[in-house]
C-alpha cells in the first residue's frame, strides 16, 4: 500500500517534469488543426514527419548541427586539458600562493559572471575573434566547477603512487600525464559529458559572437526558426525536438556520469 502511494507520488511529479516535452513532441508530430484549442491534443492522431521535413527545408539544420558538434567537441577537449592541468597542482603540490589561487577561482562562482559577456565581447573584438569558433569556445574553456571536480579526483589518488614515481626520477609532467590522468579517467569522462551538454545548450554567447546564420549552433538556430516562421508553431515544435534529441540521448545513455559529477561536487 505504501509502495503504491510512493509510486503514485513519483508519477505525479514525473508528469510535471516531462509533460512539456511530451506535448511539444505531439505538436510536432501532428499536422491537423490548431494546437491552441480546447481540448488540446495529448496524443498524435495521425502522426507524420511532415513538420520535421519542413524544418530541414526551412533552415540549414545540418550546418547548425555540425557547428554545435564542433563547438562542443573543442570545448570538451580544451577544458579537460587546461582544467586538469590546473587542478593537479592545486590538489597535489605545495607551492606559494596556492590558497590565493584557489580563493580566486572560488570567487568566480559568486560574481555574476553570467554578464561577463558584455566586456568579453570587447575583448573578443580586440583579439579579432568575432565570427570565429575560437571566440565562442575560449571564454568557456576554464570554469571553477570543472577545476573543483578534477581537484577532488586528484586528491583521491593514493600518495604512494606519486612518491614511488618521484623516487624513480619521473618528472612532474610524466607523473601527471602517465600516472595521474589515466587514474582519474572516469572523472574526466564525467566533466567531459557535463561540459558537452553545457556547450551544446549555450545560446547567448554564441549568438553574440557569430553573426552569420549559417555559422550558428543549433541552440541559437532554433530561435532563428521562431523568427522566420512566427506563425508555424508546429514547425517550431519539430525544430525544438530535433535540438534537444542529442542532449536527451546523451543524458539517458550516460546517466551515471551525471550522477557522479554531482557526487564529487558535494564532498
Amino acid at each position: 500500500m505504501k509502495t503504491i502511494a510512493h509510486y503514485l507520488l513519483l508519477c505525479a511529479i514525473a508528469v510535471v517534469c516531462v509533460f512539456p516535452f511530451w506535448w511539444t513532441l505531439v505538436t510536432a508530430l501532428s499536422t491537423e488543426g490548431n494546437i491552441f484549442a480546447f481540448p488540446p491534443t495529448f496524443w498524435p492522431k495521425e502522426p507524420s514527419f511532415d513538420n520535421f521535413i519542413e524544418v530541414f527545408n526551412a533552415i540549414p539544420i545540418w550546418s547548425f548541427f555540425r557547428n554545435s558538434v564542433l563547438i562542443a567537441a573543442c570545448t570538451v577537449f580544451w577544458k579537460l586539458a587546461l582544467c586538469s592541468a590546473a587542478a593537479y597542482p592545486l590538489a597535489r603540490m605545495h607551492f606559494k600562493g596556492r590558497k590565493l589561487v584557489f580563493g580566486l577561482i572560488l570567487a568566480t562562482l559568486v560574481l555574476p559572471s553570467e554578464v561577463n559577456f558584455l566586456v568579453n565581447f570587447i575583448t573578443v573584438t580586440k583579439l579579432s575573434l568575432v565570427d570565429t569558433y575560437t571566440g565562442v569556445i575560449l571564454p568557456n574553456v576554464v570554469t571553477a566547477v570543472a577545476i573543483l571536480l578534477l581537484k577532488q579526483a586528484f586528491e583521491e589518488v593514493p600518495q604512494d603512487l606519486i612518491d614511488a614515481a618521484r623516487v624513480d626520477g619521473a618528472s612532474e609532467w610524466t607523473i601527471f600525464s602517465k600516472i595521474m590522468l589515466p587514474l582519474i579517467a572516469p572523472w574526466l569522462a564525467t566533466v567531459g559529458i557535463l561540459t558537452a551538454v553545457e556547450a551544446w545548450n549555450e545560446y547567448i554567447w554564441p549568438s553574440i559572437v557569430m553573426s552569420k546564420p549559417d555559422e550558428f549552433p543549433l541552440s541559437v538556430g532554433v530561435l532563428y526558426l521562431r523568427g522566420t516562421f512566427g506563425s508555424s508553431t508546429r514547425v517550431i515544435a519539430a525544430g525544438t525536438v530535433l535540438t534537444i534529441l542529442p542532449t536527451l540521448a546523451a543524458f539517458l545513455f550516460t546517466q551515471r556520469f551525471f550522477m557522479r559529477g554531482m557526487d564529487g561536487a558535494v564532498k
Binding site: 517534469c17 559568486v110 560574481l111 554578464v115 558584455l118 576554464v142 550522477m259 558535494v266
Partner: protein
Amino acid sequence: MRNPMRNLAAWLFLAPALALLAVFSFWPVAFGSLLAFTDYSLIRETHWVGLDNFRYIFDNEMFVTGLKNSLLFLLMVPFVQIGALSLAVLVNNQLPGIRYFRAAFYVPVVTTVSVVGIMWGFMFHEQGALNYVLMTLNLVGAPVGWLSNDNLALFAIMFVTLWRGLGWYMVMYLAALQAVPADMQEAALLDGANRWQRFWKITVPMLRPTIMICTVLSVLAALKAYQEVDVLTQGGPMNSTFTGLYYAYDQGLKHLKLPRALAASFVMSIFCIGIALLCLRYIKPKHR
C-alpha cells in the same frame, strides 16, 4: 617538501588556465567595474562620469523593478531546496524502475534554455495545456494569461526556474543521502527511533554541509536569474518581469548602453557578494 623546481612546475601547470581566467573572468569584472563609471562607447572618446550611470539606473523604473524582482526571486530558494531534498528522499531507494524516475526529474536540467522558453511558451498560452488542465479540475474559471498578466508573469517565470532547478539540487542531495552511513540509521532503528525522528536527528545533521552549499548556490542563482526572462517574456508585460541582470543584458546587448549595463551588473555583484557572505556567516555547520 617545498623546492623551487616544484614551485615552478606548479605555476607552469596553472599558467594556461589562469591566463584564460584572467582574460575572460577577472578582466570583465575589473574593467567592467571601471567602465561603469564612464560614458564608454565604441564611437566616442571615453570620459569619467562618476556616479552618473548609477544615478541613472536608480532613477530608472525598469532597473528598480528589476532589482525588486531579483530580490523577490529569493522566495524561490526555500521551495527549491525543500522540494529538491524531498525529491531526493523519494528516489533514495531501490524500488524497481527508480532510475527512470531520477532521469525524468533530471531531464529539465539538461535542456537548453531556448527550448525551455519555447516549450513553456506553449504551456502558458491562453489556450494552452496548463489552462485546460486547471479548468478541467475547476481550479480556474476562465483561461489565465500567465505570461500576459503583469501580476502573474514573474511568478510564471519563477515556476519555470523551479522546474529547471529541482533536478540539479535533487542529485546533489541524493549523493549526500547515499553517503550517510547505514549503520547509524540501523543503530537508531534499534533504539526505537521512528522514521521521522531518524530523518531529523540523523539525516538532516549529516546533510548540513550539503544543505549549506546548495542554499548558497540557490540564493546566488536566484539573484542572477535572467535567461528565462529573455526566452519567455523579454521583460514584459509592461516591464513587470525585468530582473537586475536582465536589465544589464537588455541595456548592454539590445540597446548598446554598455556603461549602464555594467553599472547594473556592478550593483548586482555587490548584492551577490553581500548575500553570499551573510549566508556563509549564518548557516555555518554546527559540528566540526
